[in-house]
């Protein structure tokens, strides 16, 4: 009969352990507020930093998953997360499917043209027109007359250009090809603007920004495009791009912020459709020649104006979420430069404040301190 006693003891111990786990998890989920978000991978490291700092500050736990902009919009629409994130603003049909969405720009990205030509440092001049011709392999050698005309003081080699691009579906590609489409008719008709492009033959595809950076670094006489921070961190030469005012602008944190500040003049109200902002800014500044870098874009957090539409939302959670968003557009911005992100200019912060004041729970304004 001994084994029976052993069996009973084991069963009791097992039940006790399971019950212990259940109680433990129950206790901790009731302890603090937990929020979840999902979306774009580009701002993910910054959002991660914010959630850590915000947890230390308030005890509110926020889980963010960098699953891509498409996934972020999908989960936001299906209300499976408390907030979504996306690099491009929502399209017309996407916006219609998620009524009451607020667009909150949280940081700024810039796509830079990188190249690897032995002996030639950063600072070659590019126009959208010529860049598109290079990427569609209409210009195939570095010493092509059209490119030499932009860089008369540089001796360019008579070498074939190796074109490198993103192989994965990417917001960076969408921003870059939107710019090319607007600047070059032939590009627009043959390749267009989207996250995946049917690239010409004999071009190299790399996975992610690191993949393209590696391709450009390892192949001489190559050209590619990456997010600014990857070019800076990997020390890859990058070009200056002509903006709508005709100036050749070097991409820096400052020129990206300048472009966003100029762009803030045309930002729609937070609860409106943001498709008019487009994938990137390249605005003609009416008063004086702008210093903005042309291929600059926002990254957005998407959140519902009336938070009670999200399942599981409570007054307490709504308050925590609104507080978090308020915090990231103000104090949170100080963490951006250290991680190679561009802080929002004052104009955009002011615009966001108005947006965040719109957030309600059961019809009542959540940001009652604002």
């Amino acid at each position: 009969m001994n084994y029976k006693i052993v069996a009973y003891t084991e069963a009791v111990a097992l039940i006790a352990i399971i019950a212990g786990f259940a109680l433990y998890s129950l206790y901790f989920t009731q302890q603090s507020v937990t929020l979840s978000g999902a979306g774009a991978t580009f701002p993910a490291p910054l959002v991660q930093k914010w959630t850590e700092e915000f947890y230390d500050l308030t005890g509110v736990q926020i889980d963010y998953e960098g699953i891509g902009s498409g996934g972020g919009i999908k989960q936001h629409t299906e209300k499976t997360v408390d907030f979504g994130a996306s690099d491009p603003p929502m399209k017309d049909d996407e916006f219609a499917a998620a009524p009451g969405t607020l667009h909150v720009p949280i940081t700024i990205g810039g796509v830079v043209i990188v190249y690897n030509i032995p002996g030639i440092p950063k600072g070659l001049n590019f126009t959208g027109e010529v860049t598109a011709d290079i990427f569609r392999r209409n210009i195939t050698r570095w010493n092509d007359q059209r490119f030499v005309a932009l860089n008369p003081s540089v001796t360019l080699p008579n070498e074939e250009i190796a074109v490198c691009h993103r192989s994965d579906s990417s917001g960076t590609t969408a921003v870059f090809t939107s710019f090319l489409s607007d600047e070059n008719e032939a590009w627009k008709n043959n390749y267009g603007a989207s996250k995946v492009i049917s690239w010409p033959e004999e071009t190299l595809g790399g996975k992610g920004n690191p993949g393209v950076a590696a391709l450009v670094q390892q192949n001489q006489y190559s050209i590619g495009y990456v997010e600014l921070s990857y070019a800076v961190e990997n020390n890859i030469p990058y070009g200056e791009v002509q903006n709508a005012d005709g100036k050749f602008v070097e991409p820096t944190m400052q020129t990206l912020a300048d472009a966003a500040a100029a762009g803030s003049l045309i930002l729609p109200a937070g609860d409106k459709n943001w498709i008019s902002v487009g994938s990137y800014f390249n605005l003609r500044n009416v008063d004086e020649p702008g210093n903005g870098y042309p291929i600059t874009s926002f990254s957005y957090i998407l959140v519902y104006k009336e938070l009670n539409v999200v399942p599981g939302m409570t007054q307490e959670k709504a308050k925590a979420l609104a507080w978090f968003l308020w915090w990231i557009i103000h104090d949170g911005q100080h963490y951006a430069p250290a991680l190679s992100y561009v802080s929002l200019p004052l104009e955009v912060v002011t615009h966001n404040e108005a947006t965040l004041r719109m957030i309600t729970f059961d019809g009542q304004q959540v940001n009652d301190w604002a």
Binding site: G70, G192, V196, S198, W199
Partner: protein, 334 residues
């Protein structure tokens, strides 16, 4: 309720005994239990196939068999009036060529390792080498990919490919601009990745060849090389099995090949050209694929083609094994 359940449990054994008409031992329970678990394999494979076919149905309907020989891949056409087009031929081509290179380079080396370990090497040394070969299998494929990008590609590009082109440049396979990330690089990385699988199985197969066979051959005055040939032909079906397992790994490999193959959608004719494989395009594009709906469906169909390819390869392998074993049996009968 609970009492009832416990009562039911306590009476299961006599009930089963009534059904089977004899006293049941633990063996029967164990047998039933393991059989049920084994049946899960069918369930998993069946559900997976069902889901993939269901998800790719839209694409199958839209593009039909043309999907298999189409050569354009444009999910989002530049002009909204055009419809997206999908064709998988360059992907199938890329997958087959990289896998073939992997087998061509990997199998002879693997068989060499297998023979060395089972026939020639001292026991201690064999144990030592086996350990490291098996360690190769434990390296995650993303590490192979990174190593490929940062170590292998620069080395091949500067030290191996130029002389290779100088020697074999008269063949169309080795013409054109030399690029680091290319079909050939992809095949070489795959060859390294299938080494542990193929060589470990080959070693076991050779070790399983009866001692009597070897002794008989040696008694006839055979050299060690001749003995090895007999060992290899005796273990032929096992070796083919090993090669097929390696091929399976090469065809399905995703991460490493994506990082080194160049990801360029085209019908390449030179091994120095960048290419694309079935698994790579899914890895690259699936995460962000949202609209149009047929896009996701087309990616699912790529997965379906990959499964079909694996099934065909496996079926062929079975066929070869049956035929060769029959031949051996026939020879023995004679």
């Amino acid at each position: 309720m609970r009492v009832k359940f416990l009562y039911f449990l306590s009476n299961v054994r006599p009930k089963l005994q009534m059904v089977f008409g004899k006293r049941l031992s633990g063996d029967v329970y164990f047998k039933t239990f393991t059989a049920l678990i084994a049946c899960n394999v069918f369930a998993v494979l069946g559900l997976m196939l069902y889901k993939i076919i269901q998800e790719s149905w839209l694409s199958i309907e839209t593009y039909g068999l043309g999907f298999l020989w189409g050569t354009t891949w444009q999910p989002v056409p530049p002009n909204p009036s055009m419809s997206p087009s999908f064709g998988a031929l360059p992907l199938i081509w890329g997958t087959l060529v990289t896998s073939a290179i992997a087998l061509l380079l990997g199998v002879p080396i693997s068989l060499g390792i297998g023979l060395a370990l089972s026939e020639f090497a001292p026991k201690r040394f064999a144990y030592f080498v086996s350990f490291f070969v098996e360690l190769l299998a434990a390296i995650p494929s993303v590490i192979y990919g990174l190593w490929g990008i940062f170590v292998l590609i620069p080395f091949l590009q500067h030290n191996i490919y130029p002389p290779l082109q100088a020697m074999l440049g008269f063949l169309p396979l080795f013409q054109g601009t030399i690029r680091g990330p290319s079909v050939l690089t992809g095949g070489i990385v795959l060859a390294i990745m299938i080494l542990p699988t193929v060589s470990a199985i080959a070693r076991d197969v050779f070790a399983a060849v009866p001692r009597s066979q070897r002794e008989a051959v040696v008694a006839l005055g055979a050299t060690r090389w001749e003995t090895s040939k007999v060992v290899m032909s005796y273990g032929r079906s096992g070796v083919i099995g090993a090669i097929i397992l390696g091929l399976g790994r090469a065809v399905g490999e995703t991460m490493a090949i994506t990082m080194v193959v160049g990801n360029s959608f085209n019908m390449f004719d030179s091994l120095f050209d960048p290419g694309y494989t079935l698994a790579s395009i899914v890895a690259n594009e699936f995460t962000e694929a949202s609209s149009p709906a047929v896009y996701i469906s087309a990616l699912m169909e790529v997965g379906l083609v990959l499964i079909a390819l694996a099934l065909v390869i496996n079926a062929l392998a079975r066929l070869i094994i049956w035929r060769t074993t029959k031949m051996v049996a026939g020879a023995e009968a004679v």
